[in-house]
């Protein structure tokens, strides 16, 4: 087969990152988060804890920065000079951005983290040796390391009955991160395949998007041009594979965090609008 590789269309690999790179995705799961309608209620984080068997580490370990929240709600103050109620709190749900050119992937010495054909940054727990290079290389700090075995502390009997069987319970020494609820994506893809049809928009839904009371989080397949996500990205003139967005209308709110680092995140945020007093 090496000759076949030799004769293959190599020009596709010579494309620059800004021309689309070499990926040939069937699905590309993406997200759009509207910070203007996010009320910072933490329902997404709670749903993530419930769905993904996340360990509750306790106050002390949380203070040491060992919390296992795959999705955290970052809090910012827009008007810091004012006092508390008028301070202007704004919230930003921060989960793994499933970068297309992820910085975590090439540094893994055992290839435990890799890019799936769906454009996700996968983490294979069985292969992980806990070198933590990926975590150090992630600009968003969205990878979490199991410094302890949390199973018995976090889910004492009978709480272990609430564990999601579609997911491994990670043990000590393993890195973990947001998977875009890959178990739900897998079910949606399986169902679609059994019925010989493409995956419909909204069929695969992450726990955070499902739990959001204001529908601030929209999840879907970016490759499906009719999906809500693809439409939102288009509406706000945000494109993948760019390090700087060239918008015709700069008033549009869409932006991606740290896209200037050329990591190409799959999550678009919509800026919060504030009325000037």
């Amino acid at each position: 087969m090496s000759l076949e590789n030799l004769l293959g269309n190599w020009s596709q690999y010579r494309k620059g990152h800004e021309e689309g790179g070499f990926h040939d995705y069937k699905h590309l799961w993406g997200m759009a988060i509207d910070l203007d309608i996010c009320i910072g209620c933490n329902a997404c984080a709670t749903a993530c804890y419930a769905e993904n068997n996340l360990a509750v580490v306790g106050k002390e370990r949380f203070e040491k920065g060992q919390a296992m929240h795959w999705l955290r709600l970052e809090r910012y103050w827009d008007q810091n000079e004012l006092d508390h109620p008028a301070q202007g709190a704004s919230f930003l749900p921060m989960m793994c951005q499933q970068c297309d050119a992820a910085t975590c992937e090439p540094v893994c010495p055992v290839a435990a983290t890799y890019h799936t054909p769906d454009g996700l940054n996968a983490q294979v727990y069985n292969r992980c040796i806990g070198s933590r290079y990926c975590s150090n290389n992630c600009p968003y700090r969205n990878r979490y390391f199991n410094f302890y075995s949390y199973y018995e502390d976090s889910w004492p009997e009978p709480l272990n009955m609430q564990l999601n069987p579609d997911l491994t319970v990670r043990d000590k020494g393993v890195m973990e991160k947001c998977t875009f609820c890959v178990q739900r994506i897998r079910v949606a893809k399986d169902n679609a395949k059994m019925e010989n049809r493409p995956v419909a928009d909204g069929e695969a839904m992450t726990a955070c998007a499902q739990a959001c009371p204001t529908n601030a989080i929209v999840f879907g397949d970016y490759m499906d041009k009719d999906s809500q996500v693809a439409k939102l990205w288009k509406k706000h003139q945000v494109k993948l594979r760019l390090t700087k967005q060239n918008k015709e209308n700069p008033e549009l709110r869409g932006y991606r965090i740290f896209e200037e680092l050329n990591v190409d995140p799959s999550v678009m945020y919509l800026e919060r609008v504030r009325e000037e007093v």
Partner: protein, 210 residues
């Protein structure tokens, strides 16, 4: 003199070309092989995919079941389809153990004098299912669906459903000649992966690992 020199030069060029003729021939033949090779590869891969059943063997321990269930009597002697009892195989992840009511559907009247059936009837009257033990158990971090495998190897192939036991035997062995089922295939990652390569299954880690 000048003419002679010219002649000498041209003849030496011709000689050089002639000497190089074998190189031309070699290059041409390589080019021909290169041109034909992709068509050969494509034609061989575009023909109908043949099913390559997984090989390998494993000597699994005999699992002690609450009732020594004779698969051979049911499948071989009475010709009952695997999916009559393991109904969920074609529509869910797990193949399923039949409810006791399904056993009793027949065994209220058939072979009621046998000690195994009397034990089964006891369970039925106590309204508690026999505590069957799992024989083919993959680790918890593996996502495996029966339905997709049956779709690939039976329904998409127009394979006669009455012979489904031949497909089940890919992973479960020759159950029709066993009494209590025991593991005869390794069911480990290398074994799964070999079959996925041979039969075009997904090669993505996250297709199976969860």
């Amino acid at each position: 003199m000048a003419v002679n020199k010219q002649n000498h030069k041209s003849s030496s060029r011709l000689k050089l070309l002639l000497e190089k003729r074998h190189i031309w021939f070699a290059m041409l033949s390589i080019a021909a092989v290169l041109a034909v090779y992709p068509f050969v590869v494509m034609s061989s891969s575009s023909s109908a995919p043949e099913i390559v059943p997984p090989g390998g063997s494993h000597n699994g321990e005999n699992v002690e079941q609450p009732i020594e269930f004779p698969h051979n009597t049911h499948v071989k002697d009475n010709g009952i389809n695997c999916m009559y009892c393991h109904t969920y195989a074609r529509r869910s992840k797990v193949a399923g153990i039949p409810p006791t009511s399904k056993c009793m559907g027949c065994h209220k009247v058939i072979a009621t004098d046998k000690p195994r059936i009397q034990k089964l009837t006891e369970y039925w009257e106590q309204k508690s299912p026999p505590p069957w033990k799992k024989v083919h158990d993959v680790p918890d971090f593996v996502h495996f669906t029966h339905e997709k495998h049956l779709k690939r190897f039976v329904f998409d192939q127009d394979f006669p459903v009455e012979n489904v036991k031949e497909v089940c035997a890919f992973c479960h062995g020759d159950v029709e000649n066993m009494t209590v089922a025991h593991k005869v295939k390794p069911l480990n990652m290398g074994w799964c992966k070999t079959c996925h390569i041979n039969n075009g299954g997904p090669g993505d880690c996250w297709a199976c690992h969860k």
